[in-house]
């Protein structure tokens, strides 16, 4: 792995445990989803993104408002992982640029960052609104705007869809091992790496630095 300069975060599943009901509700009401709803917020969220993408239609104003209100509700019900603040503080102190690259709405992301007092950690915030798109779009915008090379960037995810998106963009896909059974299946998708807890990220990056500077032979 090459030296890491930046990390992209999608709040759902990487920074906080969200409830799944709201994302499932959006899928049912706006896309007539009939499949059994997942209990995992991340899977529900990424499934919703697929529905939006495959529908090839833009949401009208009332649909957008409906989706946003449920996303805000989801943020209200979210619980920040306890290792987030210490990990982000350490990463920032190490000089790693932290960016939000989310397919949530502007309103939801802003509310999320304010609710958990995380705003100051992130140098840039990309959402489906200011990036004008979902899935790969916020990631690409974040990378271009920060002048990163994709291979110097990590994207954290705990879903197969997230891994796919990271691969499409060419960034290092880092599997968040939130559910060991799910992670075991996802490991077959060949992520660039995996972590059990965010507190491991600084060590991960230090290890990559050490490997890149592997001892010169005397």
């Amino acid at each position: 792995m090459q030296l890491i300069e930046g990390i992209l975060f999608e709040p759902v599943g990487c920074l906080a445990e969200f409830p799944s009901e709201e994302f499932n509700e959006i899928a049912v009401r706006l896309f007539d989803r009939r499949k059994k709803a997942s209990k995992s917020a991340s899977r529900s969220f990424w499934h919703l993104l697929n529905l939006i993408e495959y529908s090839h239609r833009n949401l009208d104003t009332s649909e957008k408002a409906f989706a946003e209100s449920l996303e805000l509700q989801a943020v209200d019900g979210a619980h920040l992982y306890e290792d987030v603040v210490p990990a982000l503080s350490e990463l920032k102190a190490m000089g790693i640029k932290l960016l939000i690259a989310s397919s949530l709405s502007d309103t939801a992301v802003t509310h999320f960052l304010e609710k958990f007092s995380l705003k100051d950690f992130f140098s840039e915030v990309w959402t489906r609104d200011n990036a004008s798109g979902i899935k790969v779009v916020p990631l690409v915008k974040a990378i271009i705007n920060a002048s990163f090379k994709p291979e110097h960037v990590m994207f954290l995810t705990d879903t197969a869809e997230g891994l796919k998106v990271a691969k499409e963009v060419g960034v290092n896909s880092i599997l968040m091992i939130n559910d060991p059974d799910e992670a075991r299946k996802l490991a077959m998708d060949d992520p660039a790496g995996g972590i059990v807890s965010l507190h491991e990220l600084p060590d991960f990056i230090r290890l990559v630095v050490a490997e890149n500077a592997r001892l010169p032979r005397l």
Binding site: M1, I174, L175, I177, P180, D181, A183, R184, A187, P191, A192, G193, G194, I195, V196, E200, D203, F204, R206, L207, A210, E211, A213, R214, L215, P216, R217, L218
Partner: protein, 331 residues
């Protein structure tokens, strides 16, 4: 197996020169019961240049020092420790522990230094998976079967447990080690030597020995009168396996009052885990059968088991009870 080159230096200085020459591509070769298996299993992390230190004189001995302590050369075989009358007289718990290491055949080949510095025995690493210790960036133990050889006390990227028994048994005796380095000898306690998953020279390893350093000697201070010790080990099989949980405990007694205690768990964490909360709880108490049960709630309160290994914590707590009961019966 990949092509390897073997050097056979005849002095520590020469060995250090060779290790320095090849950087992290080289590794010390002594008993070979760990290293050769890593090579045979085609692990990416296995060294290409083996520095065979068996020809170096004066690294294989067990001798009493002037203060009444014991010095053990790093190349001393585990079987020699197990059969040593001097060790049995002064540190019976250490002898008890090394007799439970592996099989008689392997105890005849493996060395004390090798046992202390051995690589973890996670089935994923040994199976060639590209994990943190083998060129990859994920711990398969965290997502796969972690019931036997993975930490129930959290981890730092790698979740494999430290597998050695000798270090677990040496820590309660306040043993120290000597390392030969390019800049002279360095002395550390065994506890400092194996602090768990560390990044050393761009690699994750359980110990702090750098690529061009060699463990040469273990020094155990003289035991004080009134020292009682116990070692117990639970294995998936009755023999020839690594600990699912083990406990080395020493109590410094005056009559039945505990003046000092050392409690070290093995097989449950990335390092021999000194449980200072229990040590502090025991200090000043009178050794009794009840004390064992009173100590259990204090133990391992920060356990963080993985999906399949919570039972290790129960095992470790059970060993704490049986260890203290055993010491009480012997006191």
């Amino acid at each position: 197996m990949k092509k390897i080159s073997i050097y056979r230096p005849t002095s520590i200085e020469e060995a250090i020169q060779v290790l320095s020459l090849h950087g992290t591509e080289a590794g010390v070769y002594a008993g070979g019961t760990d290293l050769l298996i890593r090579l045979k299993n085609r692990l990416k992390q296995a060294p290409t240049y083996l520095v065979d230190i068996k020809k170096i004189n004066n690294l294989r001995y067990i001798k009493e020092d002037a203060q009444g302590g014991v010095q053990i050369g790093a190349l001393t075989k585990i079987a020699e420790l197990a059969e040593s009358e001097l060790l049995a007289k002064k540190y019976p718990m250490l002898v008890e522990a090394v007799r439970m290491i592996s099989s008689p055949e392997l105890r005849n080949a493996s060395t004390l230094g090798g046992d202390i510095l051995q690589e973890v025995w996670c089935q994923y690493l040994r199976g060639g998976y590209a994990c943190w210790r083998n060129g990859g960036y994920i711990c398969y133990g965290a997502i796969g079967d972690n019931s036997y050889y993975h930490s129930a006390m959290g981890g730092r990227l790698c979740y494999a447990v430290y597998p050695g028994d000798a270090a677990t048994a040496l820590i309660p005796y306040n043993a120290k080690v000597k390392l030969a380095t390019p800049f002279g000898m360095k002395e550390l306690t065994v506890e400092q030597l194996v602090p768990g998953d560390m990044m050393v020279d761009g690699r994750i390893q359980s110990h702090v020995v750098r690529f061009n350093e060699i463990l040469t000697e273990v020094v155990i201070p003289p035991p004080k009168p009134g020292l009682r010790a116990s070692f117990e080990k639970l294995r998936p099989r009755g023999v020839w396996d690594f600990a699912m949980a083990s406990l080395a405990i020493t109590l410094q007694l005056r009559d039945k009052t505990i003046e000092d205690a050392r409690v070290v768990f093995g097989g449950i964490s990335g390092k021999p885990l000194r449980e200072t909360a229990v040590e502090n709880f025991l200090k000043g108490k009178t050794l009794s059968t009840d004390l064992a049960n009173q100590a259990v709630p204090v133990a391992l309160t920060n356990a963080a088991p993985l999906k399949y290994n919570a039972t290790k914590i129960d095992m470790a707590k059970g060993l704490l009870v049986s260890g203290l009961v055993r010491l009480n019966a012997a006191a």
